[in-house]
């Protein structure tokens, strides 16, 4: 029997596709980052140039805010939703399905819809806030420098918290009912049940989901690019969008590649922790 070689044959198509779509672009980006647009080796010049650009530190701090803000609210809201959806109440199945909608809606559709809803003059949000007198003046949600990044984060939270909720809910459902009953007999209130029984049991799920969310938030383009393209005045410029714009709007592929390489190093670190965590979970559950 040719067991080993048969195995390789089976994975070959997938490996070829991965090689063409992932390995080659990664390697080529590495090459671009140390050459100029003529293809001459220039050492670390591209890195120096892009790190010296005014937008780079702005994008770095925006990215930090974007990732931290998104993750904190996605996880907190997602976990609370999961706890709620784990309770027995009438219409639970419907509420569970409805909760999933934001996650199922394509990112570009959601972004466009939100852009219209948040429009300063015609948006329904300003209408709803000004009509009953909650706000005196319409707010320029997407044009005001101090509201635009929080609004982007809010949209991202809205888009992704159902994912957290569904994953954590699956974890909660695997907890034996006896544990809740034992806790109730031990004298736990509802929130003590949550704190001492539910959360410790789903902690591995929360950790894994959080790392996934960090990876996705780091790689995020759709919502921000579709709504603000990083503006106004770079207030929503996060690093992936900076890379995109440097490459395809300023046509500076080599500097974009240099930034990509640095960004890749950060992302790969998170991925490493994710893989180690999930592999650890698989080991622990045996």
């Amino acid at each position: 029997m040719h067991r080993k070689s048969t195995g390789y044959l089976f994975v070959l198509p997938a490996l070829l596709v991965l090689g063409m779509l992932i390995a080659y672009p990664v390697a080529y980006t590495g090459l671009l980052s140390v050459t100029d647009n003529q293809g001459n080796l220039v050492g670390l010049d591209n890195f120096r140039a892009i790190l010296g650009a005014r937008a780079t530190p702005t994008a770095f701090f925006n990215t930090l805010w974007w990732v931290v803000g998104s993750i904190v609210f996605q996880v907190v809201l997602g976990v609370l939703t999961a706890i709620l959806l784990n309770q027995k109440f009438r219409g639970r199945a419907i509420v569970r399905s409805v909760t999933l909608i934001p996650w199922v809606v394509p990112g570009i559709v959601a972004a466009t819809t939100w852009a219209w809803m948040l429009h300063t003059e015609f948006g329904i949000i300003n209408y709803m806030l000004t009509a009953p007198g909650v706000l005196e003046e319409p707010v320029g949600w997407l044009t005001n420098g101090s509201t635009v990044l929080p609004v982007m984060i809010a949209i991202n939270v809205w888009k992704m918290f159902p994912f957290v909720a569904i994953m954590v809910l699956a974890g909660l459902q695997s907890i034996s009912n006896d544990l809740y009953e034992a806790a109730r007999i031990d004298g736990a209130s509802f929130w003590e049940e949550v704190w001492y029984v539910m959360l410790p049991q789903v902690r591995p799920v929360i950790v894994a989901v959080t790392l996934l969310l960090v990876i996705w938030a780091l790689n995020h383009i759709t919502i921000i690019y579709a709504i603000t393209r990083g503006g106004p005045a770079n207030r929503t410029l996060i690093t992936p969008i900076q890379i995109f714009r440097t490459a395809f709007e300023s046509v500076q592929f080599n500097q974009a590649a240099a930034l990509s390489v640095m960004f890749f190093a950060v992302a790969i670190t998170v991925v490493f922790f994710y893989i180690r965590t999930t592999a650890g979970n698989a080991g622990a559950s045996k």
Binding site: L179, E181, A183, I185, G187, A188, E192, Q201
Partner: protein, 353 residues
């Protein structure tokens, strides 16, 4: 410590009533076992006592205080679950001290009470371990320890030994009994295993289809079963039941052989009756009835013989060593003092007790 009073308790799920008015009085310090086949409502009753199921009708009182509307934590009870329900992310010590921690007890007191319970249950070396690092018997002990540290009015056990192997079950049975003798805490224990019930209980409550069939001490149930269900349920191997007719002071079997009765039953309104005789109440007697041997099972201390008697297959247990083979005939006598008679229709016990 506390007494428990269950008065005409009912439980329905929708229109389906599964407990049809159960009344049990449990004295302070008593060890009461609820026993019955699965689906008889014994676990539901225990969970209602614990406050995990709502009470549809009737009243449950602990120490003369009606607890129907109280949450489990306000009832001062502790429960040991069949699955043990240990918190997997807590150590043995944390599991045992959890209820005290929730009750905001000072740290030193928690430590002291956990140490005391751990000492009683020989768990001291395992206090820092997690439940997954323990054997089945140790987990079972932790579950008991968790109940003991609280020093509740009532202990509730829900089939706590079902997940253990046979040898460990016997060992834990006596440990539970010893702990009860030391602590003297009122205990309600649910099992489907009548041997567990017989060996552990001060009093047994036999349940069947949502009603109490009989309440009594183990030997009362064994010697004077109130009806056919209790007669057949208690005892192993179970009581032999022969159906036949009454004629004067004799019982006539299906194949017309007569068995003399020590008394004439009071109510003979229906002539069809069932005669019950326990396997150990047969004796070899040359003048007895003829019985054809079907199988012989020697266990060393006794010999169990299945045989055909009066048209019925019966099981007899003899203390003496018998050398007989399938197909041969034995002549046996039924101990007349140990014969039970039951009404053919209602299944109720007949005659004087």
């Amino acid at each position: 410590m506390g007494s428990v009073s269950i008065r005409d308790v009912r439980k329905s799920y929708g229109s389906m009533e599964i407990l049809h008015g159960v009344s049990i009085d449990i004295a302070d310090g008593e060890f009461v076992v609820l026993v019955g086949p699965s689906g008889c409502g014994k676990s539901t009753l225990l969970r209602m006592l614990a406050g995990l199921e709502e009470i549809t009708g009737g009243e449950i009182a602990i120490d003369d205080k009606v607890v129907n509307a109280l949450h489990p934590k306000e009832r001062d009870i502790a429960m040991v679950f069949q699955s043990y329900a240990l918190y997997p992310h807590m150590t043995v010590a944390q599991n045992m001290g959890f209820s005290l921690k929730l009750g905001r007890a000072p740290k030193e007191e928690i430590g002291r009470r956990v140490a005391k319970a751990a000492d009683m249950l020989s768990l001291t070396p395992y206090l820092d371990r997690y439940p997954r690092q323990l054997s089945g018997g140790q987990r079972q002990r932790v579950a008991m320890g968790r109940a003991m540290v609280r020093d509740p009015k009532v202990f509730l056990f829900d089939e706590p030994l079902s997940n253990l192997d046979a040898k460990l079950r016997v060992q834990m049975r006596s440990e539970i009994k010893q702990n009860h003798q030391r602590l003297k805490t009122t205990t309600v224990y649910v099992t489907h295993d009548q041997i567990e019930a017989m060996t552990m209980a001060d009093r047994i409550v036999v349940m069947h289809d949502g009603v109490v069939e009989q309440i009594g001490t183990p030997l009362e149930l064994y010697d004077f079963p109130r009806n056919l269900f209790v007669a057949a349920f208690i005892g192993s191997p179970s009581m032999n039941i022969l159906s036949g007719k009454l004629s004067g002071n004799s019982f006539i079997t299906a194949d017309s052989s007569a068995i003399n009765l020590p008394f004439i039953p009071a109510s003979t309104n229906d002539e069809t009756v069932s005669l019950g005789i326990r396997p150990e109440h047969f004796a070899l007697d040359p003048n007895g009835m003829a019985a054809e041997v079907i199988t012989v099972e020697p266990t060393g201390s006794e010999t169990q013989v299945a045989m055909l008697l009066g048209g019925h297959e019966v099981v007899a247990v003899f203390r003496e060593r018998i050398t007989t083979r399938p197909g041969e005939c034995l002549t046996v006598k039924l101990d007349p003092e140990r014969i039970h008679l039951f009404d053919g229709q209602s299944g109720l016990r007949l005659g004087q007790d």
